[in-house]
């Protein structure tokens, strides 16, 4: 298949060899599970259980609220201890409502919904089941998958792309899934294609995963509609937009979806979760997590129940060899710093990295020498140096005009910057600040409207009262006159 060139990008040291050869290992049952109500993009789930309830594995604990949301299910059987605020796996470390589940060790399943035959039921049925099972994008985006499987009704979709690029350094969870659960992944992929009503499936895998490529090609050889495509190894090949450009030559317009150009992209782990949901009726209650970084004694790929604390994963990997400078959730390029080890694994946690100082390689910032490396590296064709300068001087609107909101946060610019300018941090601040200002402005408009409405009402009531008084006065005067 002909591939198209993508702009920019980098070739970081991949460091995948630490875990690529390690088979997926199940993590022993933890003593307590912490299940946050929001593990997805959209509205948080609403709990349907209370403290003291006994639940079984796979039972619904919190239901989705609204269209863009996802339910949360019990990762094992046990007792609900409480629902209380607990630290989220988020750089802020802010607490969010979390269900505490104490496992009873029996690990018995609840009555699952019946298996569906994806190729005979109506297409909407698949999306409905996927929504019911709480499947979200497991590459880290955590967007509810059912919504994306329903896009076929709104947009003319002709290709389903399965993203097996796994371009982030360190991470090998998708690689291992493709090698060990090949049949499940390929079946999930075909179910998704059926839900979308597309005839063509492209499974794209970077060339640095030859075993996964071979396994997937062998498994999908029986299906004419599935094509496995080796991708050149380059970061950020796994970015949805860039992947679509590389495969189809079509460019996604700014702030539009890939569905606008007829392509839907799903992740490898999501495909497997869809297979479990449709064929077995199993909700999303566990995921594969790569635990890596040189601060960990033994790097591993673990099959983890959602809600397990990161500290337990690290303990299972033999603990730490030295105190890490950062704990990251996800890869080193786009992963989020975590406030510590006592945060739960959620649906979007693809990796847990404990990086040593030598690995993180942080250095002091030097003045910009205007070398333009960041401009060359930017896969979106932006000018990072200009944007950072504007944000530094609080010229956020100007930064937005030259494309701040089109930035992916991929970090290629900061990676190549010889002056170690924290470009991504500037962009994070700029985007957050713009969103906050937007919220303020909306509130301001509402306040203004309410104040105007009130002023008008007060005036009207005053006028009516005066008119009434005048009328009463007049009536009284007439009466008096009549009487006299």
């Amino acid at each position: 298949m002909k591939l198209f060139r993508i702009r920019g990008g980098i070739h970081p040291e991949y460091r995948k060899e630490m875990t690529a050869g390690k088979a997926i290992e199940p993590l022993p049952m933890p003593a307590l599970l912490h299940l946050p109500l929001q593990q997805h993009i959209g509205a948080p789930a609403v709990p349907v259980v209370a403290a003291g309830d006994r639940v079984r594995k796979g039972q619904l604990l919190a239901r989705a609220r609204g269209e863009i949301s996802a339910p949360v299910h019990a990762s094992t059987s046990g007792r609900i201890v409480d629902i209380l605020p607990f630290a989220a796996p988020h750089p802020s470390g802010l607490a969010q409502p979390t269900i505490l589940l104490e496992p009873d060790g029996l690990d018995e399943w609840t009555d699952l919904p019946p298996p569906l035959d994806p190729f005979s039921v109506p297409r909407e049925e698949i999306a409905r089941r996927v929504a019911e099972c709480g499947v979200v994008g497991m590459g880290g985006g955590t967007f509810p998958s059912a919504v994306k499987l329903d896009l076929g009704r709104k947009f003319p979709i002709d290709v389903l792309v399965i993203n097996g690029a796994e371009c982030e350094p360190y991470l090998t969870c998708d690689d291992r899934l493709m090698r060990e659960c090949t049949a499940e992944v390929v079946d999930g992929v075909r179910i998704m294609a059926r839900a979308l009503g597309v005839e063509r499936i492209v499974i794209a895998i970077e060339k640095n995963k030859p075993e996964a490529l071979a396994a997937m090609a062998a498994e999908s050889a029986a299906f004419a509609e599935v094509e496995v495509v080796p991708l050149p190894t380059r970061y950020p090949m796994g970015s949805e937009r860039h992947l679509v450009t590389a495969l189809t030559g079509r460019e996604t317009p700014a702030r539009k979806l890939t569905a606008d150009i007829g392509v839907v992209v799903h992740n490898i782990a999501t495909a497997r979760a869809v297979h479990h949901a449709v064929r077995l009726g199993r909700p999303l209650i566990s995921r594969v997590v790569t635990v890596s970084g040189r601060a960990v004694r033994e790097q591993k790929n673990l099959d983890v129940r959602l809600g397990t604390l990161v500290s337990q994963l690290i303990e299972h990997c033999g603990g730490l060899v030295e105190p890490p400078v950062h704990y990251l959730s996800g890869g080193p390029m786009m992963g989020q710093a975590m406030p510590g080890r006592e945060v739960p694994v959620v649906k979007g946690t693809s990796g847990i990295l404990a990086l040593t100082a030598a690995e993180a390689h942080e250095r002091d910032t030097m003045p910009c020498i205007r070398c333009g490396s960041c401009v060359t590296a930017c896969p979106c064709g932006l000018v990072p140096v200009e944007m950072a300068q504007m944000i530094r001087h609080e010229k956020l609107d100007a930064a937005a005009r030259i494309g701040l909101l089109d930035c992916l946060n991929c970090g290629s610019c900061a990676y190549v910057c010889p002056a170690h300018i924290p470009l991504v941090q500037y962009f994070n601040y700029g985007k957050g600040r713009l969103a906050a200002l937007q919220r303020d402005r909306r509130k301001q408009e509402m306040t203004k409207r309410l104040a105007e409405q009130r002023a008008e009402r007060v005036e009207r009531l005053d006028r009516e009262r005066k008119a009434k008084m005048a009328a009463a006065k007049k009536a009284a005067a007439e009466k008096q006159e009549g009487g006299a």
């Binding site: 929001q38 989220a88 988020h90 750089p91 802020s92 802010l94 969010q96 250095r363 002091d364 910032t365 030097m366 003045p367 944000i391 530094r392 300018i421 924290p422 941090q425 500037y426 994070n428 601040y429 985007k431 957050g432 600040r433 969103a435 906050a436 200002l437 919220r439 303020d440 402005r441 509130k443 301001q444 509402m446 306040t447 203004k448 309410l450 104040a451 105007e452 409405q453 009130r454 002023a455």
Partner: protein, 178 residues
């Protein structure tokens, strides 16, 4: 040479005359900037800026007698909008940005006098006589007028806690290596 001087003089005189006439007949009543600035302000007439309402505050802003940061309920968004409109620079100093606040009714102390809800310019307080009042947090813009009239001092302004939806990264503090 003479033709050049003559034609330019004529041109100058003509255009000058046109401008003079325009200044007389197309004169604008009042200062339009004042109305524009007033439109940027919240319009709740809370008086926290020290002026009697948003109109006098706008007048003072245009005359340069008040800083663009004068409006506490408007916060940073309004300050920046005003500064842009007036073409002045705005400095927030080193102080951390004003935390957004919201009024809170202490239900143990509320006697249901309805004074605060009569005062509220955005109808953010619900209640009735001899019923406990409460604040609709999304609508409250923290002007503080309710707290001033409360006879039992049961209304306080509380900071709105950051949530995962509103939190964002701080600006990086760069220490440049020498």
């Amino acid at each position: 040479m003479l033709i050049a001087i003559g034609s330019l003089t004529l041109l100058g005189a003509l255009l000058g005359a046109v401008l003079g006439v325009a200044a007389r007949y197309l004169r604008v009543e009042g200062n339009p900037i004042e109305a524009e600035v007033e439109a940027l302000l919240p319009g709740s007439q809370c008086g926290q800026c020290g002026f009697a309402g948003c109109k006098p505050a706008a007048a003072a802003l245009v005359k340069g007698e008040a800083p663009p940061t004068l409006c506490p309920p408007g916060g940073r968004a309004v300050a920046m909008a005003i500064a842009e409109k007036l073409g002045v620079s705005v400095s927030f100093g080193d102080q951390e940005e004003l935390e957004p606040e919201v009024a809170f009714v202490n239900e143990d102390l509320c006697i249901g006098c309805t004074r605060c809800l009569k005062e509220c310019s955005t109808d953010a307080i619900v209640g009735a006589a001899k019923q406990i009042h409460t604040v609709i947090a999304e609508v409250c813009h923290a002007c503080g007028k309710c707290a001033k009239v409360c006879p039992t001092d049961c209304i306080e302004m509380r900071a709105v806690p950051a949530t995962l939806a509103t939190w964002h990264w701080k600006k990086p503090r760069v220490k440049v290596a020498s």
